[in-house]
């Protein structure tokens, strides 16, 4: 795979403007703005209840914002279902969801979008194609499991590799990694970071949701920090030499805001 890295990010392809979401009386998202550019890795960091998962659910079509606008390639869009999100090219990688454990890797990659071939006047599922194409995905990401193996035998990191492979195969524009490193070993985290770099190298943007800034510092381009439903920080990594410098800056910003 040829490495296509855009040094200069152009217009954002995804823009969120003034997103609000209430759950009963709880103001889960309070006017969040966010841009995502092509091929960049954005870290979405925050405590539990900061609104990260609400934002992710809005982007993946599982929740609908109460107020606010979403622009895709400059055009206003409504993401009201998972299918809508997938049609745009937004794929979500989640640790517990997204894979059917008792299905093979090949079936999982193509689930919901199975290739079909003509068989007389009937259309039947093309298992050969599914297997060949998944073999390519598996080789590409260096997964340790084969296309015929059932997903339940894979480790947490490998499972996410399957989902990432699916996103790559179907040419997603944005992959949301929803707390992918939770409950993973050091090796597993390393694998997931590797997948992120692979996505980035093909021009796919990533929204990496995590608690830990340090964990993703190496791969990220930009970090967005949410706190109690509001965006507090949105800075580029380039502006900082080390994670320590970034952290002290973030603390400074948050304290400043609280004043």
């Amino acid at each position: 795979m040829r490495i296509v890295r855009k040094a200069v990010f152009m217009e954002p392809f995804l823009t969120l403007r003034n997103i609000h979401k209430w759950f009963e009386r709880v103001h889960a998202l309070n006017g969040v703005d966010m841009d995502i550019y092509r091929g960049e890795v954005v870290g979405l960091v925050g405590d539990n209840g900061a609104g990260k998962s609400t934002l992710v659910k809005i982007l993946s079509g599982r929740l609908y914002p109460d107020k606010g606008e979403i622009f895709w390639e400059g055009e206003k869009v409504k993401i009201s279902s998972v299918q809508d999100a997938r049609r745009l090219g937004i794929e979500t990688v989640h640790q517990e969801k997204g894979l059917v454990d008792c299905f093979s890797v090949a079936k999982n990659i193509f689930l919901g979008r199975e290739p079909e071939k003509k068989f007389g006047f009937l259309k039947i599922v093309d298992y050969m194609k599914m297997k060949e194409e998944s073999q390519r995905v598996v080789d590409w990401l260096n997964l340790r499991i084969g296309p015929d193996q059932e997903v339940r035998f894979a480790s947490g990191g490998e499972k996410q590799g399957v989902v990432v492979g699916r996103a790559m195969y179907f040419k997603a524009r944005l992959v949301i990694l929803d707390e992918p490193t939770r409950a993973l070993s050091v090796m597993g985290v390393e694998r997931v970071l590797g997948f992120t770099e692979a996505l980035k190298s093909t021009g796919i943007s990533c929204l990496f949701v995590t608690h830990s800034l340090r964990q993703i510092f190496r791969v990220m381009d930009r970090v967005v920090i949410l706190d109690r439903g509001e965006k507090k920080v949105d800075v580029k990594k380039k502006e900082f030499r080390s994670v320590d410098e970034l952290e002290s800056k973030i603390l400074e910003i948050i304290k400043g805001v609280q004043k």
């Binding site: 997938r86 894979l99 008792c102 689930l111 919901g112 039947i124 499991i145 035998f153 480790s155």
Partner: protein, 324 residues
């Protein structure tokens, strides 16, 4: 798939239900060669498993989606009675229409279950318990007595009444269904819904529609069972398929359908059904009392479930990747 010893082992393990059929058949044949090694016995064994076989399918399909259906026997009873009653009143009905009736009524009953469980999202136990009572009562409201075979058109009762019509019909259904479940997208989605409903929904599969469809197909086969039962009994007794749910469940489970959904081959469920059938037939041949036959069927189900557990554990060990 490469042909390694492991793959062959896994294949054999997956056919456990059929192995049990052979095992039982051979054991009975050794004990009583005259009766068992007889083509007529074999034919009758197959034939007598057909009405129950359709009910096993009716149960297995909702099971694969991770739900179940308590009302299949009652659907069969209702459909048989309703179709029989209409035919009894209109003897000169178009035969094509007569044959469509049980399938259509069955599918409609299945749709009601599918609507309650899939679309409305009721608990399958409660929903199908309610429809169980509903269908049961409706059957008696339509016609409170049994219908004799002589009151029905000859062509209608011969469909299920002649074994070389009923058995091939069932086997053809089984093959088409088996292939359909493997080679169509809908088939894969039915398994995916049972395997992991949330993930399937995330991938754009409409789980509620899949469940609705599964119950509808299930109802369709309950209807098929009604048509066969009518011929098999040469008439429509009031308690036509009462209690048929139990052997249907047993057949599905022995055939390897997982109660949590997502697993099981529809073809193997007939193997499961035949295991029960063979045991019953063999015990009948040795004049074992009905009570003892029930006890042994119960023991068989427990034995089969335990064996299935061992089978799955062993199968997992074979399938687990070695390198990681």
């Amino acid at each position: 798939m490469r042909l390694t010893t492991e793959n062959i082992f896994v294949f054999v393990l997956d056919q456990m239900a059929w192995l049990l059929v052979v095992l039982f058949y051979v054991s009975f044949a050794i004990l009583n060669p005259n009766a068992m090694l007889n083509l007529d016995t074999f034919r009758f064994l197959l034939y007598s498993s057909v009405p129950i076989g359709f009910l096993v399918l009716a149960e297995s399909i909702p099971l694969i989606t991770g739900n179940f259906d308590l009302s299949i026997g009652q659907i069969t009873g209702l459909v048989a009675m309703l179709s029989g009653y209409i035919l009894m009143r209109n003897l000169h009905l178009n035969p094509i229409f007569a044959f469509i009736m049980p399938f259509a009524f069955g599918a409609l009953c299945g749709m009601l279950n599918g609507f309650l469980v899939g679309t409305v999202g009721l608990n399958p136990f409660l929903a199908t318990l309610a429809t169980f009572l509903f269908f049961d009562g409706l059957t008696i409201m339509i016609h409170p007595q049994s219908i004799w075979g002589l009151d029905l058109p000859k062509y209608y009762t011969s469909f299920g009444g002649i074994d070389y019509v009923a058995t091939p019909f069932f086997i053809a259904t089984l093959i088409i269904l088996g292939l359909g479940f493997r080679y169509t997208r809908v088939g894969i989605h039915i398994y995916a819904t049972g395997g992991d409903r949330e993930s399937a929904m995330m991938l754009g599969i409409k789980a509620s529609s899949v469940i609705f469809l599964a119950y509808t197909i299930g109802g369709f086969f309950s209807g098929a069972s009604a048509l066969i039962y009518t011929g098999f009994c040469n008439g429509i007794p009031l308690n036509l398929a009462d209690g048929a749910i139990f052997p249907a469940f047993a057949g599905a489970v022995i055939g390897g359908v997982s109660l949590t959904g997502g697993r099981g081959s529809v073809i193997n469920t007939f193997g499961g059904c035949l295991v029960v059938g063979t045991l019953e037939a063999g015990l009948t041949m040795f004049a074992v009392s009905p009570e003892l036959r029930k006890v042994s069927t119960g023991l068989l189900v427990i034995f089969a479930i335990l064996l299935d557990r061992v089978r799955i554990a062993y199968r997992d060990r074979l399938l687990r990747p070695k390198s990681t």
